[in-house]
Symmetry: C2
Subunit: 104 residues, 2 copies
DNA sequence: TTATATTTGTCAATACTTGACAAGTCAGTA
DNA sequence: TACTGACTTGTCAAGTATTGACAAATATAA
């Protein structure tokens, strides 16, 4: 299963020699939950991506695109028109410029 | 909002001079629901895509990629790393060949 | 007006996701 | 072997989101 986001944050965490139990509370979650996110068993929430980029001092967009890619993969993974669908999405994005999500 | 799938099935339906109330029952849904799907207010279900391709006699993959594209668009539409994420998904798909969904 | 087609709004039922916890495995070390 | 610490697994209730069904509104034409 594709888990670019989880692999990355585990990598970052290990580089900093941090334990799950040290990072999890900063995201207001328990250790098992973070473990699941790192292994791709669960998706992090959008805001947690932001928090993680701060914790590990990396550009938010880097984590965000991995996180989004995992979500997209999850949508297309079972269909063999996956590539075709991604192209169609790109076309749509070109026509329909994406409006920013309202920040809360 | 992006609605390639809905636009297409409306186009097909009108080409055949069919009414919502003639098509909807074939999908076991009511007229308002099909109206919403055509206008992109709701997503059709995976099986309904198959049924629609049969009703309108078009290749399933054509409808399927539009339907999938709408779903993907829905995931990425609010983020400005959308393109980057789509590229990352394509890379992932190349590495991780997609397994077919188990037909039920 | 009347009839027909489509759209809009609401809401309960259903399904999915999340968070929290207990219990489990695994690796290292005394 | 037993103990410890780090992580993983399984379960389940709570919280969200989606769906289906219906009534009512709008629109268009005759």
């Amino acid at each position: 299963m594709a888990n670019q986001f989880g692999d990355r944050i585990r990598q970052l965490r290990e580089k900093e020699n941090l334990l799950l139990r040290q990072v999890a509370p900063q995201l207001e979650m328990d250790t098992p939950m973070l473990s699941k996110i790192e292994r791709g068993e669960r998706f992090a929430k959008r805001e947690q991506v932001t928090q993680l980029s701060k914790i590990f001092n990396v550009p938010e967009d880097d984590l965000l695109s991995l996180w989004l890619a995992d979500k997209v993969y999850d949508v297309v993974k079972d269909e063999d028109v996956a590539f075709k669908a991604l192209s169609a999405t790109e076309e749509e994005l070109k026509i329909n410029p994406n409006r920013k999500k309202p920040p809360r």
